[in-house]
């Protein structure tokens, strides 16, 4: 679902131009408002949708499953630490509201302090393992976690 800009809501601040990883959000030459120059190349990462301070950017569903008339809108609230979506069906009646956490701790409070970590020993440097690897893949607690070690089995077929 590529993005598009409501020109009447956009104030040309450039947040979407700064954040777009595909570099396809640009500024219109006659109105100085943002627009998606190439929707086909949109990664659909929604970075611009979430970064826009005026909620001027929406996503347009592909016509085969979301014909014109539907609406997908989002508010990413950094201070609350949540992201809220509202999906409105094309009949204008059915709506879906979604709310999910995007952080559980204040931003920047859980950044690993790698500078304070002790320097690796020679043995660690010569090892094939990367920094913190035994700890992070939990080999130090008795080997890798697998379905078998957790008493689980893989079921056959497609299931949900």
């Amino acid at each position: 679902m590529p993005t598009f800009v409501y020109m009447t809501r956009c104030d040309g601040c450039g947040e979407c131009v700064d954040i777009c990883p595909s570099d396809i959000m640009h500024i219109d030459k006659s109105l100085r408002r943002a627009y998606n120059i190439e929707p086909n190349m949109c990664w659909e990462c929604y970075s611009c949708v979430k970064a826009c301070p005026h909620q001027a950017i929406d996503v347009r569903g592909y016509a085969d499953f979301a014909p014109l008339g539907h609406s997908v809108r989002v508010i990413r609230d950094e201070e609350k630490g949540t992201i809220a979506w509202r999906i409105k069906f094309r009949n204008g009646k059915k709506e879906m509201d979604l709310l999910a956490p995007i952080t559980t701790k204040p931003w920047g409070s859980a950044t690993p302090k790698l500078a304070d970590a002790p320097a690796p020993s020679k043995e660690m440097r010569d090892s094939e393992l990367l920094f913190n690897e035994p700890k992070y893949i939990r080999m130090d607690e008795g080997g890798l976690h697998t379905l078998e070690s957790n008493g689980l089995t893989l079921k056959k077929g497609v299931y949900y």
């Binding site: 009447t8 809501r9 104030d11 040309g12 601040c13 450039g14 947040e15 131009v17 700064d18 954040i19 640009h26 500024i27 219109d28 030459k29 006659s30 109105l31 100085r32 970064a51 301070p53 005026h54 909620q55 609406s71 809108r73 989002v74 508010i75 950094e78 201070e79 609350k80 630490g81 949540t82 809220a84 979506w85 509202r86 409105k88 204008g92 509201d97 979604l98 709310l99 999910a100 956490p101 952080t103 559980t104 701790k105 204040p106 931003w107 920047g108």
Partner: protein
């Protein structure tokens, strides 16, 4: 220089009636340009259709008193203090240019219509305000043009690149700059005066092609946006959830499970600083 009416010295070569006629012509050009702009872009039609569509998804009706209080808040926040800008530098630059332009335009009209007669004595405050207005306009405008303009700050384009979207700001800057140069060089006829008149004619005559008319549309758009917040339609945006509300906890159990029942303010995250990668 700062206390003398620059238009009074012009009356020896240009009659006051002609100057007043020019002002009236500029007002007519602005009105005509705005109407043509509305007809061409169908902005008024789109605006009212959109308002009607928003009303259909309204959760409650907004009373007349509420609408009036919204109009007052639009006047205070959006019109008088440019509160719609989330970037404080842009807001300040806009306030400088807006108030500079208003002071400059109003004092120009007052001096031309009230104090160009041969025996008229211009109050010293008017020329002072005229110069202050032009300086504020130039200060805010050049700040915007060289540093804040999105083409420079986000697109990374050179600040001297000119395109149609710049017609308004360039003609504004040219008007204030040539007005000041004209006044500092003693007024009267000459190249600075010709450039001053040329830039004002482009500014007011180019409304159809420039962004001049935004000052008439923006308050209406801001009012409509606030109405949609008040009537619950919110332009189809999700509600503004209170994360401590038990009803929100019941509907979205992930929130209390991962964030607790009373989550703290998480801070500004990516909004803490402007991207600076050029």
């Amino acid at each position: 220089m700062f206390t003398s009416n620059p238009f009074a010295s012009l009356t020896e070569v240009i009659s006051p009636e002609m100057m007043q006629g020019y002002i009236v012509l500029m007002v007519l050009l602005v009105m005509g340009g705005t109407i043509l702009d509305m007809i061409h872009k169908k902005s008024a039609k789109y605006f009212f259709e959109n308002a009607k569509k928003a009303q259909k998804s309204a959760k409650r009706s907004v009373s007349g008193g509420e609408k009036a209080s919204i109009a007052v808040s639009v006047l205070v926040n959006e019109v008088l203090t440019s509160g719609e800008f989330s970037n404080p530098r842009r807001r300040l630059s806009h306030l400088l240019t807006m108030y500079g332009f208003i002071i400059f335009a109003v004092t120009t009209v007052m001096m031309i219509f009230g104090y160009t007669a041969p025996d008229a004595v211009t109050p010293a405050i008017l020329p002072k305000l005229w110069h202050v207005g032009a300086l504020m306009l130039a200060l805010g405008g050049y700040w915007f043009w060289f540093f804040i303009r999105v083409d420079v700050s986000a697109e990374g384009l050179p600040c001297f690149r000119f395109e149609r979207a710049d017609l308004f700001i360039v003609s504004l800057l040219a008007t204030s700059t040539f007005a000041l140069i004209w006044s500092f060089t003693g007024g009267g006829l000459g190249i600075p005066f010709a450039l001053f008149i040329l830039s004002t004619t482009v500014l007011f005559g180019g409304v159809y092609w420039s962004k001049f008319a935004h000052m008439f549309f923006k308050p209406a758009a801001a009012h409509q946006k606030k109405i949609t917040r008040a009537d619950g339609s919110r332009e189809n945006l999700p509600p503004d959830y209170d994360l401590t509300d038990p009803e929100v906890h019941r509907k979205f159990p992930d929130v209390p499970m991962y964030m607790g029942k009373n989550p703290p303010n998480m801070g500004l995250c990516i909004k803490a600083e402007r991207p600076n990668h050029y």
